[in-house]
Symmetry: C2
Subunit: 492 residues, 2 copies
Amino acid sequence: MSKNLTKREEDYSKWYNELVVKADLAENSGVRGCMVIKPYGYAIWEKMQAELDRMFKETGHSNAYFPLFVPKSMFEAEEKNAEGFAKECAVVTHYRLKNDESRPGKLMVDPNAKLEEELIVRPTSEAIIWSTYKSWVQSYRDLPLLINQWANVVRWEMRTRLFLRTAEFLWQEGHTAHATKAEALEESEKMMHVYADFAENFMAIPVIKGLKTESERFAGAEETYCIEALMQDGKALQAGTSHFLGQNFAEAFDVKFANQEGKQEYVWGTSWGVSTRLMGALVMTHSDDNGLVLPPNLAPIQVVIVPIFRTEEELAAITNVAHELMGQFKSLRISVKFDNRTTQKPGFKFAEWELKGVPVRIAIGPKDLENGTFEVARRDTLTKEIIAKDGAVSHVSGLLEQIQKDLFDKALRFRDKHITEVNSFEEFKEVLETKTGFVSAHWDGTAETEEKIKDLTKATIRCIPLNRKEEEGICVFSGAKSVGRVLFAKAY
Amino acid sequence: MSKNLTKREEDYSKWYNELVVKADLAENSGVRGCMVIKPYGYAIWEKMQAELDRMFKETGHSNAYFPLFVPKSMFEAEEKNAEGFAKECAVVTHYRLKNDESRPGKLMVDPNAKLEEELIVRPTSEAIIWSTYKSWVQSYRDLPLLINQWANVVRWEMRTRLFLRTAEFLWQEGHTAHATKAEALEESEKMMHVYADFAENFMAIPVIKGLKTESERFAGAEETYCIEALMQDGKALQAGTSHFLGQNFAEAFDVKFANQEGKQEYVWGTSWGVSTRLMGALVMTHSDDNGLVLPPNLAPIQVVIVPIFRTEEELAAITNVAHELMGQFKSLRISVKFDNRTTQKPGFKFAEWELKGVPVRIAIGPKDLENGTFEVARRDTLTKEIIAKDGAVSHVSGLLEQIQKDLFDKALRFRDKHITEVNSFEEFKEVLETKTGFVSAHWDGTAETEEKIKDLTKATIRCIPLNRKEEEGICVFSGAKSVGRVLFAKAY
């Protein structure tokens, strides 16, 4: 099975596209730019959702649900905020189909069912949510509003790729409202930390926390916090953003509150989101030429047991042992699958579970029964060991924790090896062309320089790292003064 | 607070509309026919989702996600199946807005961005899912496909009511494919039982299991199983349906498989769904003139503790006791809220939590501290008792179970009292006008009679109950022979 997968070195992009489909994560649908998330891929997304949802609730947020459609006029209200992407979007103009009299069996849009006002399928929900908050907020007692929504959104992307860029995608969007600027700033920074914690400790993806430059910011934001990850091909991927919206949306939708002194003030806002794009980051951070590599936290199946047998008696004896094991795994909440298909050979099964990234494989043959042993294989390192049956479950449980940790450490080493400090534009270009990864360089702080560098190299400023050291320097491009390095990279 | 709520006897419909809004379940949005599900309402929906999801997985189903949009041509393929509601739907015709040059600050649909083929916002997903299954199914080994989707759907309803009938609503839709007719029939019947189990044991709503008549069936189905509930005003509400689709969608989308003999056969299908409509059923089954009454299983807050105090010292002493209680409740996974607001009086808080349907309220005052007691109030019966502090938590835990059971029993008694056997059309009409509820009557089995009865009385056949007794009789309308009674009612 894995033999059919393109090697990463050959064509990374092709490897990715093939892997997403072959590992049963997702596929393109009959609708342009929209994907089908298959059960195996969706099971991974559900694990992300459950953990994020837990983290959001632990930090005081509640879920709610707002309409899919946004009337055109609401976009006009936030026009200055939404210039970025709001215009490439799906527009509903009619509300009925009818039989096409001239073509039997065909349907047509009923021209008599034209909407008075067009509805936009939400590309993001600031407009509809802030227009709702207007009636929810009267006094400082109604604040803060800490709300999250799990939803589908649509942006009419011309060039799409499974998970990374699709016309419809799934995400969560937090939208909060606060009485003070300080509180809203704190919230937006806090959610960036929540995302970083999730990415690193749950997905085993190291990220750099930082601020976006003005040109890379969300159009309605005064500050955008982000987490940036590095993929195996040396390209960066924005894994989550958290926006401090200032009073922009409050002004656009007239959301005011009476403060403790009874004076009317505009509310301060934040919004923050991560999406099914994280599935792409997951694949491109850990997987290899044999297929997916899943961190145990995200694996729908954490352990697969493959019986090696020739006769039905052998299978029966192995099945007994396997069931015993499964009971023990389940009591530890470790998800385990016994692949007892008789239609496939062990080699086929090994390749299939490798392709699907199951972290640990246990093979049990007649000899193992004799010796009281199992063969345990790690997906991430492709190494095998023979372990004793006694204590096997606790051994594997420890192994899963180790794999989770090792995957993060490995990705961190790779990432750190691919951050290169440069002090001239020649170096800058050379690193981007050869070593790739993040280029840490002084920048003069102007959008003009940022734009020129982008035109010349396709590299953008991924972020101004929060933990950067103060360091006087000279912009690699303009030679003007700089107070610290920023991270450039080509990005997804 | 509750004083402002219309009484059920006065105007049941108004009571419902007011309660949904005042109890913070949902509200109408700025988008015609679309609702906002508020955090408190959404928390209830999340509990329903979690339990249903657990039940679906326990019965072997996996979740997946399919596109929001369905190309018009896919509807044409299933045209014969979709005649029912597919035509009243949101149609996307364009994919871009642009600035309206003639009206500064305004947006317009870009006429150059017209889609070649219109996209329909899914009213249900049979078309898009069966067009996907075509490539997923080749051999009997690929079957059964047992898939569920949690999603939003849109049906362009002209008259909408919160939860009961909205243009956009949330639901789950199961779509399964099987090798044999028997297996698909078994699946559709099984899911009806899952729904009934959920409604009765989780939501405390008694339901009647039955089959729809041909006229009331989903257009693409050969058989529709349903669960029917009875609301307090004597109107029925269809709470869930499970369809046996025969080979209809397999034929429409050419989904064939090679059977064990290698012969090509069409696949057999089912689909089944419940929606946010269940929120409406929940409200209309249990609530009263003081507000919501929530079964403990569905209550976001199961126990609220209200301190009765005059001084800060009293509040501090009560807080100590409350925190002790809360720790004990949490260890039993009972959700508890300590309402220590100093901005509101106890009476206000009592009314508010009554309105929001919190099953148990514990009031603690200085006297209780002296005596080692609490005052415990049940929301469903509005009764109070004084209990000893020792053993209070296990008492309340038992009380929550009792309330869950009592709510079901009460609803069941009401429902059973409102099933009336009639043997003439005069009786039939009289019951519908006076006692309301389900009318159990003989029917000749023809769509013609069904239609005439509907025209004359607005009552429809809710179902042919699965457990009806064989009984020869005479149709109340036509006088023709009948082999058993069916249930008529006016319905939501």
